[in-house]
Structure formats: C-alpha cells, structure tokens
Symmetry: C2
DNA sequence: TGAAAACCCTACTAAACTAATAGAGTTTTT
DNA sequence: AAAAACTCTATTAGTTTAGTAGGGTTTTCA
C-alpha cells in the first residue's frame, strides 16, 4: 500500500496543479482543502521541494508552485520519493536494485521472473502517467457524469 | 515491497512443490535448503495450513504437503495472505476495499482512476500465475541456459 | 521598523508493524 | 517411553509510520 506521505503528496500536487500557476499556493490552503494535517503536510511539501518538484516562495504571501509542468511530474517519481522502490522484490527493482541475499542463483529464479513481470507492468504505468493525467481523468470522469445526467433529465421530461 | 513472510512463504511452497508429493516435507529441510530461520518458518507454514494451502501430518516423520495442485495455488493468494491488499490504495482493492476517509468524491477521483489501473495490471498477473508457473519458468530459464552453454562449447571446439 | 505571515528545519514521540525467538504443548512413530 | 515432528501463544528488539513540537528564517506591508 501507498504510505500517507505518498498519497498526501500526490493530492497536494494535484491541488497545486489545479490553481492559477502565477500565485503561490499556501500550505494552510492545501491542508484545509485536502484534509491533510498541516504540520505533516509541511514536511511533505519540503520533501517535494528538495526533490525539485516544487519551488517555494518565502515570506508573507509566499507558498509553493510547481517547478515542472504537470506533464513532466510522473506518479512514479512521487511514489518513489516517498515510498522507495515500486518493485515487490529488491532484485527486480530498476531504481533500487539489490541482490537477494538468500537467493543462490538469481538468474534461474522463477520468483524473480514473475515479480519482474509485475514490476514491469506497474512501472510502465506509473512512469508513463503524470500529474496531467490525473487532472485529465478527473475532468473526463466529471464530463461523463454530466452527460449521463443530461440523458436522465431528458428521458424524465419526455 | 513484499514482506519476508510472503517471500519465505512462496519459497517454501516452491520447495515443497518440487519434492515427491507422497512424502511430507519437513520444516527443517525447507529451513536448511532455503535459508529461512526455522522457528520463523514454522509460523509461516502454520499460516499456510490454516489458509488451506498446505496440509500437515503430525508426529514423527510428519511434515507438510500441498493441499491443492500447484496450478491452483496462485501467487496472489499467498501474497494477500501474508501482506494483505495488492492494491496501492484501499479504495481500489477488490479483496480489502475501504473507502478513502479523506476523499470527498470517490467517483471523480483521478488518483483512484490511475491506481485502479495499476491494481488491475498487478492483480491480473498475480491472480493468473500460480506455483506451477514459478516451477515452469525456472525450468525454462535453466533449459535456455543449457542451450546457450552447448552453443558456446560448440564454437569453442571449432 | 516591527509585527505578522509564511516557509524552513530538526528533533521527538506514540503506535503499529516486522522479523524473529522462546518455550511449552500435542501427536505419532518406533 | 523416548524421540521426532507439528502446534500454539507470548514476547521482544528493531524499524517504520504518522504525526507533533517548537523554534528559526524570510518577506511583506502598514
């Protein structure tokens, strides 16, 4: 499962991406809107800043802005930042590879073979999709819902 | 990442599946062969027994046997038994679904939409593949290696 | 120029989880 | 009856998680 940090981080980024990109977004706004404990959120946003995903503006009226366009902030990057490897076994991780200490012949390991497949499936989604895709999907879901609402009200009228 | 329990559990099952299915396999044998702490392994095998994946024979010369054919013991079942949900968010889990307490409108959540895709990709692999597939892949990897070894020795002779 | 508003940073903590370990009990064989 | 195995529960040391506390620094603006 995703940690709270990863989940909150993604939600915070999504929130920032939805705002006017010229005005910094403040921790307290995000905290309120997304129900994330304020102090906890501070450490999360700081992590995102250190990882060059956000930039901050200090002082009164300060806040956070995206450092990259939403299309370049992948879900995978954020997940890895907070939760480490995406792979289920260290021996199939691309970014955090470690040999299995208890595995005698990694090259012939059926388990590794299968979890490599899982890691490939997961990684190819998380590294392909970005903040922009989250926003797009949200938009599409809402549009779809609106269409079906219209249909309903139509048939009701008749 | 997979817990040690899940990993050890899978390795133990693999080991048992490779033996003669008429003679019970003993904890100490598995412990030795797979470098799994004996006492820890005991609790793992007990979990597998309670979950109806293994059956046990008590007393001297006792041990464990598969309760199901290898093709019916899926990786997903074993992973879920030890580590819980395969999904990265509770709201996209099939077997352990829980609504996100901090999510106001789950139906329009872009995050949920994406992690549902991940869960589908992962689940469809883990629930399709079984112990039998681990064994099969191991066999194929070794066969492949042997073939390439033969080729090498051929070209060396020449 | 100073107070308020905001981010910055480190340390701490309670609770939960992980990876075992301990030790005694039960069952079966020989 | 002794030995060999599985059975079961409790305990424990270490780590991780999800925060919290409490300042510090920077900037704005009246």
């Amino acid at each position: 499962m995703l940690s709270k940090k990863a989940k909150y981080g993604l939600k915070a980024l999504e929130y920032i991406a939805k705002q006017d990109q010229t005005i910094p977004v403040q921790t307290s706004d995000i905290s309120l809107a997304e129900s994330i404990p304020r102090k906890f959120l501070e450490t999360i946003l700081l992590d995102l800043k250190k990882n060059e995903i956000l930039l901050s503006i200090q002082g009164k009226n300060g806040g956070y802005l995206l450092k990259l366009p939403p299309s370049e902030i992948t879900i995978g990057r954020v997940v890895r930042l907070f939760d480490g490897p995406i792979a289920l076994l260290p021996c199939v991780s691309s970014n955090f590879y470690e040999p299995c200490e208890d595995c005698e012949n990694e090259a012939f390991c059926g388990l590794k073979n299968i979890f490599a497949e899982v890691r490939e499936a997961t990684g190819s989604i998380l590294d392909k999709l970005s903040l922009k895709d989250i926003l797009r999907r949200e938009f599409e879901l809402k549009k779809k819902k609106q269409l079906s609402n219209n249909k309903t009200s139509c048939s009701n009228k008749k």
